[in-house]
């Protein structure tokens, strides 16, 4: 948006209620209500759009916010806060805090589930809350003849709470005039949008999106999925707490009917219609649905009736389209999913190419030779950390069984500082399982894993990343719908410190940290040969570039040990050479220790200091590349007899 458009928008928003009054339109109340729903949709967008957690019961938080206000600020329920001049301004914060707390409570049991299961659980909560509110209006607890609680009215039951206290500001007529309400809601809404957009562009926002894209990969990149998801639930809920408390105070009355399941669905419609993950999209979606609901349906009803009268069709003269609102919402949702699943203003997920350049083709991967000088200075400064030649990683007796299959059977393996250790073996020998156990994705049945002197057994993957172990995946696992730069920035997540208030208020320390993080990410991208591709979506990169981006993301976590799972798989000889050079450079210049699973024998035998061989979960050989190449069991189980001839043939023409 240009500065001019911004100023015009602000002026229009400020002038609107007065224009309305002059013209006698009397729409300010309706517009204010619409803005409350917009705020709710924006809160839901944090959960659904950013963190990718499908929440079908979001209206429950709206109810919590409204009832928190009602409980604190209504004479019906006997609150001591009622009638005090300042109480509304206290209560909205309490309501937001209560909603956030309930977000945590509801979020906690859903942490282990995703997708369909999470949706079903939130659906349950969405049903529970209104029913509980209905039935808490008259609570009697009787134990034997003793009644500790008799006819307690906690929520007002079906009748709801009425009246609810209004805000007090000296000289502002909240009682009689809709305009102060409009401005109150406008200010809360504007502050919320401001806070949300800052959250989205922060360390936390990137973590949410990483979780949405690939939770396992995010965990292995240093993002704590538990706290990140809980924060999404809590922050999303806190915005609905504001919305609910303002709603209660503005309406002066709340009833359980206002928080039914349909409200959750309508809010979800707003988010999906506009485009999940886009603030502008959600605002657009909320506006369209509100206008449709309040204006289009009723006006069309008049129109249809007029047509019915004019044409003499009696069925049309009595029609009431507003009774069909859920029919139209449902239809709209179906159409959006079919025609534009990313929403009206959603991010485009298809590759975008220069439309004028008709000759644009999928670019071939250029072979950028990694240079020593391109190693970022900060990475060099972090290099090492463990002195001497002792093992950085020391694994003893590692055992893991899946059902009856011994995936790992008492495996020993040590990686000395600054060494490249090759891990080879037939397919299904347990190599990737070994990686998964070391990085914390799988708990071992037995054995010790010691990294730089401390045990790793029982730690979560993100805690292991924080200690200095990074990995790549056999089948590339980037965050496909995030930009190349953001992928690397997620890698830096565990080395950054900004918190939620820091992300919203951006003190100088956070601004400096963020700028440094971006510089580092760009340097890393330049180092691996991806300079200038910052803003491309990761999934639009060619295959070889995706492999290198995954390595850049791993390096961003500032590892001391790098686990590479078949990094050259699917690469042609030229790309393989480049990558081999890169790995050698990391070890030579940064003293990085590297554990390498690889099937390209030219690579493994060329750069490994020592090689371990797994077969059926058991280590069958360990030694220098030359020893391994001659080892009869390795030749039999893995290399095959053709290998030597092949290797000879490959080296001959050089």
């Amino acid at each position: 948006m240009t500065a001019l458009a911004r100023i015009a928008l602000v002026l229009a928003l400020l002038a609107y209620p007065f224009v309305d009054r002059v013209l006698g339109l009397q729409t300010v109340h309706a517009v204010s209500d619409g803005m409350i729903y917009m705020l709710l949709a924006l809160g839901l967008n944090i959960v659904v759009g950013y963190a990718g957690l499908l929440d079908l019961g979001y209206a429950a938080f709206f109810a919590i916010g409204a009832y928190a206000m009602g409980l604190l600020n209504s004479p019906v329920l006997g609150s001591p806060l009622y009638g005090h001049a300042w109480s509304f301004w206290v209560c909205i914060w309490v309501a937001a805090a209560v909603s956030a707390l309930l977000g945590l409570v509801i979020g906690a049991p859903t942490l282990r589930v995703r997708g369909d299961y999470l949706a079903i659980i939130t659906l349950g909560f969405g049903e529970i809350i209104p029913v509980a509110i209905r039935n808490l209006g008259d609570v009697t607890i009787e134990i034997g003849g003793w009644r500790p609680i008799e006819r307690l009215n906690l929520t007002g039951g079906e009748n709801g709470v009425n009246p609810v206290g209004r805000p007090h500001l000296p000289g502002v007529p909240f009682e009689t005039d809709p305009i102060p309400w409009y401005f109150l809601i406008l200010v809360i809404g504007a502050l919320s949008v401001w806070a949300m957009s800052r959250l989205r562009d922060s360390r936390l926002g990137r973590a949410w999106m990483a979780i949405r894209e690939d939770e396992t990969a995010a965990d292995c990149t240093g993002v704590n999925p538990v706290s990140t998801k809980l924060l999404a639930f809590a922050l999303g809920a806190s915005f609905s707490g504001f919305a609910g408390s303002v709603y209660a105070a503005k309406l002066q009355a709340i009833t359980p009917g206002a928080f039914e399941f349909q409200v959750s669905i309508m809010l979800l419609c707003m988010v999906v219609l506009g485009g999940a993950g886009s603030i502008r999209g959600v605002i657009l979606g909320a506006m369209l649905i509100t206008i449709f609901d309040r204006v289009v349906l009723s006006q069309t009803t008049f129109l249809v009736r007029a047509i019915g009268r004019a044409s003499g069709i009696s069925a049309l003269t009595t029609i009431d389209l507003t009774l069909w609102r859920w029919f139209f919402f449902g239809l709209g949702l179906v159409l959006v999913m079919l025609l534009r699943p990313q929403g009206l203003a959603g991010r485009r997920v298809r590759p975008v190419a220069a439309e004028t350049d008709d000759d644009a083709v999928v670019p071939e991967t250029p072979a950028v030779t990694p240079r020593k000088e391109a190693i970022p200075a900060w990475l060099r400064a972090r290099a090492g950390g463990v002195d001497g030649n002792e093992a950085v990683l020391d694994v003893r007796g590692l055992t893991k069984a899946f059902g009856g299959v011994m995936a790992l059977n008492a495996v020993d393996l040590a990686v000395p500082r600054g060494a490249i250790i090759g891990l080879i073996g037939p397919n299904g020998a347990g190599k990737t399982t070994f990686f998964n156990v070391v990085t914390g994705l799988i708990r071992p049945d037995e054995g010790h894993i010691t990294f730089a002197g401390t045990s790793l057994v029982g730690l979560r993957p993100n805690a292991i990343v924080a200690r200095g172990i990074a990995r790549t995946f056999q089948s590339i696992r980037l965050f496909p719908l995030m930009s190349v730069l953001d992928n690397v920035l997620v890698g830096e997540h565990c080395r950054l410190a900004s918190t939620v208030p820091g992300a919203v208020f951006r003190p100088p320390s956070v601004i400096a940290e963020e700028r440094r993080a971006r510089e580092r990410a760009r340097e890393l991208l330049a180092f691996v040969g991806l300079a200038g591709k910052d803003d491309d979506l990761a999934r639009n990169l060619p295959y070889g570039d995706q492999r290198r981006l995954e390595i850049a993301r791993a390096l961003a976590t500032e590892p001391r040990l790098l686990l590479l799972d078949e990094p050259t798989a699917g690469m042609n000889p030229r790309e393989t050479d480049t990558l081999t050079d890169l790995i050698g450079l990391l070890r030579r210049e940064l003293s990085l220790s590297i554990l390498l699973i690889e099937h390209d024998m030219e690579v493994v035998m060329g750069i490994s200091d020592r090689v371990s061989v797994l077969d059926y979960g058991t280590r069958i050989a360990e030694g220098t590349p030359a020893e391994i190449q001659r080892h009869p069991r390795v030749i039999e189980a893995y290399l095959g007899t053709g290998y030597e001839a092949e290797a000879a043939g490959r080296n001959a023409p050089r």
Partner: protein
Amino acid sequence: MLELADVHAYYGNIRALRGLSLSVERGEIVTLIGANGAGKTTTLRTILGLVRPRRGHVSFNGQRLDGLATDRIVRLGIAQSPEGRHIFPRMSVLENLELGAFVRPDRDGIAPDLERVFALFPRLRERIEQKGGTLSGGEQQMLAISRALMARPGLLLLDEPSMGLSPILVETIFRIIEDINRQGTTILLVEQNARMALRVAHRGYVIQTGRVVLHDTAAALMRSDLVRKTYLGEK
């Protein structure tokens, strides 16, 4: 048997194929060689109807394929072992293989063919009840190839069959590719391992930025400067 003539295909606005033409005769092994992003996988996807060509046409045994739905194309006798495997992760190895035979009219031929793939890949017999998703990467590759074979296709499309396999298995896979071919299956092979691919193939096409820049017999390609420098890694 298979013919692509002047095929143009796009992903969004990106031109992935720019007038690509090639043909495969019955009984051949033909290989496509090219860098990542050159359009090899897109070619296979276009044959299967997963990508619609904007211009040009694809025909199989004289019948136009472009415009047909993918399941119809598979019923005509084309099966693929896709890059990245795409096996059914929550189904057992056996169920994966049985689904491969889904389109076959001859139910009696399925049991002998199961034996045939188990003879080719004994590892799969060991894991017959295991869920596809719990197999190791290399085992999934074997399963993907086997599943394609279970359709008993006239034309088999193989996308990077050697990816992620141990050296001994790479040899085995290529030996199996030759065996399958000798038993009467025509094969179109996309492979990064150009050396092995050219060793088993009869003919090959070199693809750069969405079009064919060179095609010849495999032996001649092996000797060409372009192939030796760019795709065989000789310096």
